[in-house]
Amino acid sequence: MLEALKLTKDFGPLCALSEVDLEIREGEIFGLLGPNGAGKTTFVNIATTFLKPTSGTVRIAGLDVMEDTARVKNLLGVVPQEISLYDMLSGEENLEFFGGLYGLRGGRLKTRVSEVLETLGLAERRKGKISNYSGGMKRRVNIGAGILHEPRMILMDEPTVGVDPQSRHHIFGVIENLRDNGATILYTTHYMEEAERLCDRIAIIDHGKVVACGTKRELVALIGEQSVLEIGFSGDPDPAVLESTLPDARIHDRRILIHTTDPAAALPRVVSGLSGVGVDLTSINVQEPDLEAVFLRLTGHRLRDRGTES
């Protein structure tokens, strides 16, 4: 459904996307997972014709985004990362306007607006001005404006930032419903849990590069389904001594990382080994084999290490 080939975007000296290859299959929810500044929005902007790439191509439903711009636009539904609505208008008026932009008119438009308001749980507040909505409600209208015209390909750029867990759960239901009705969805996020919970396949992106792509299971298999045993310590042990005691450990400033398929068995060995060299433990954390672990393994840093959480 969506195919990116060697997609590159430079902003002056900064390379926001570097030779990105992606393939999103028809009818799936595809997650683009990466920390802030990874290049997710840049990718969405190019795919939605808003930005021109430096090089490379994106094809949607077989149409080149750069060449068949007008036809591509008609296929797409977009939920921008920033809430993009008219504050002066009500939720209903916003939806009517954006639906109208895609050619919906009259009774069809009215029906769709009502359906979408209902689905997103906004029916009661439909007449209220956007400026009086809560952040979560604005988010929901923002999503509604992108799905109103029943597009075949929906691109959602971090659509649930700042939404409470209950609404988020509800929104996930809506998105799954869209997929079950035949839409293809690109969903970007920097929340690992979201990608795991919602997406059929996931690409991990960092510094403008796709570092891995596949189902959650495939991605976890990349790191051999190992858990990460993460141990914090204090004191000043000799690194050479630590290394000889725990040859399978990686040491990052006062943290010891051990990759293992059986953390329960590894733990006593590590604890006794460390007490032998006079190190006090300050924390023990077992990172189950999940996307966070994959990300940590592939990039050497955590998803949330950089950037601020919004």
């Binding site: 808003f50 008219y86 895609y102």
Partner: protein
């Protein structure tokens, strides 16, 4: 699609209390204040020179004397002859051509001394005021200050020029009543004449002084002979000042609103909604034309509501030639919109639009006659004013409401505004398309 966009824009504008207040309420209030100030104003202001056409139908010693006195007055420039285009030949003004000149706005005031002026004075002075020959002042009430000054000056001059005649005549009558002998009455007459000639000298010296204008305007004494004033254009208009003021004020506020409205493109950019528009199937031209459409409609209503208010409250003659009003209003609104788009296309943010448009609109309003009517400005200023949007728009409305002209006569203004509007629009759309669709 374009209509859909226009409807959305208008919906937003009409929900925006600030825009409504600035667009409709403020101009109406300012308009009212201006009318009350200018309408009630007798004399003031520093007027350098006022052109006055004098038609001396009588050509008697008395009438020539009156004219020569007028010529001595500092603020007045007397014109007796009509300039003809190609030849050096000078044709004296007649009552009819003088009237035309006032109607066409060439001068604000003309004085007609009737044929039987001297004879009438001789026969009827002191006897029958109603039968006295009347001086006629033709004036353009669009220039209320100027014509009032001239009328004030005239009254004084007429009074001066008649005092000696008046006195001599008075002695005559007295002599008859008292049955004085001819010799005595002759001596009294010559004595009186001498006295009055002396008084006249003194008065002339005063008249030429710097305070003359003020003295004239404030002069409260009545005229010894009737002065008939004819408001050449405004005879039928009940509120001439309002018609003019409306044009001045409405054009300025129109510019403010269209700048704001056109600048909303940048607001949409900042609010992110522009991105939704740009990635939707809407084309760039639909987008720009819709902006022109909605802003023009808003501007059209703004002007119309002002004139409607003027019509209701100040009897501005809105319906004399309504099609001309509609044409002028539409053209003014669309051209102002294009100007607004151009300005917005050169700005980076709505904040910038607000501050720059304030500067641009205020300076154009100042030189273009929205604050002080252009005809009160020196000639070179009037010419410079033609560079402003205001001058052309106001001139068009003046022509309709003041000169009672129709569509044909406003075509120059319509043409210039439309042409400028087209140029503005294409430059603006070039910049916008480069910025948003590159």
């Amino acid at each position: 699609m374009t209509l859909h966009l226009i409807a959305r824009d208008l919906r937003i504008i009409f929900k925006d209390r600030g825009a409504m207040f600035l667009g409709f309420a403020v101009p109406v209030v300012l308009f009212t204040v201006f009318v009350l100030i200018f309408g009630g104003m007798g004399s003031s202001g520093d007027i350098n020179s006022i052109h006055l056409i004098v038609v001396d139908e009588d050509d008697s010693p008395q009438s020539r004397r009156l004219v020569s006195l007028l010529e001595k007055l500092e603020p007045l420039r007397i014109r007796k002859n009509k300039k003809t285009g190609d030849s050096e030949e000078q044709i004296p003004y007649t009552a009819a051509t003088a009237r035309e000149a006032v109607a066409a706005g060439k001068v604000s005031t003309a004085l007609v001394i009737p044929e039987d002026f001297a004879r009438g004075l001789e026969e009827h002075l002191f006897a029958d005021y109603d039968s006295l020959p009347a001086l006629t002042i033709l004036y353009d009430a669009a220039v209320p200050i100027e014509s009032q000054v001239v009328r004030g000056l005239l009254q004084q001059v007429v009074f001066m020029s008649l005092t000696s005649t008046w006195a001599v005549k008075g002695i005559d009558i007295m002599a008859q009543e008292l049955a004085l002998d001819t010799d005595t009455s002759n001596r009294m007459t010559s004595w009186m004449t001498e006295v009055f000639e002396e008084v006249e000298q003194i008065q002339e010296a005063e008249e030429a002084g710097p305070d003359s204008t003020e003295a004239a305007g404030g002069g409260g004494f009545g005229s010894p002979i009737p002065i008939k004033t004819v408001d050449v254009l405004g005879e039928s208009k009940r509120s001439p000042v309002a018609a003019m003021t409306a044009a001045q004020v409405v054009v300025m506020f129109l510019l403010f609103s269209v700048m704001y409205s056109a600048g909303s493109i940048l607001q949409e950019q900042e609010g992110g909604t522009l991105r939704r528009l740009l990635i939707s199937p809407m084309t760039d031209w639909q987008f720009l034309l819709a902006k022109v459409g909605s802003t023009t409609i808003f501007g059209f209503f703004q002007i119309m509501i002002m004139y409607l208010y003027g019509w209701i409250v100040f009897n501005v003659d809105l319906f004399r030639d309504f099609p001309a009003v509609v044409l002028m209003t539409a053209v003014t609104a669309v051209s102002a919109t294009a100007l607004g788009l151009l300005l917005a296309s050169l700005c980076r943010s709505m904040k910038q639009v607000e501050s720059i448009s304030m500067l641009v609109v205020l300076s154009m309003s100042a030189i273009g006659g929205s604050m002080i009517p252009r005809f009160l400005m020196p000639k070179w200023m009037q010419d410079v004013g033609l560079l402003s949007f205001n001058a052309w728009a106001i001139d068009g409305f003046y022509k309709i409401f003041w000169r009672e002209m129709g569509i044909v006569e406003i075509l120059p203004q319509v043409g210039v505004l439309l042409a400028a509007g087209l140029v503005f629009f294409f430059i603006a759309s070039h910049f916008f398309r480069q910025r948003f669709y590159a």
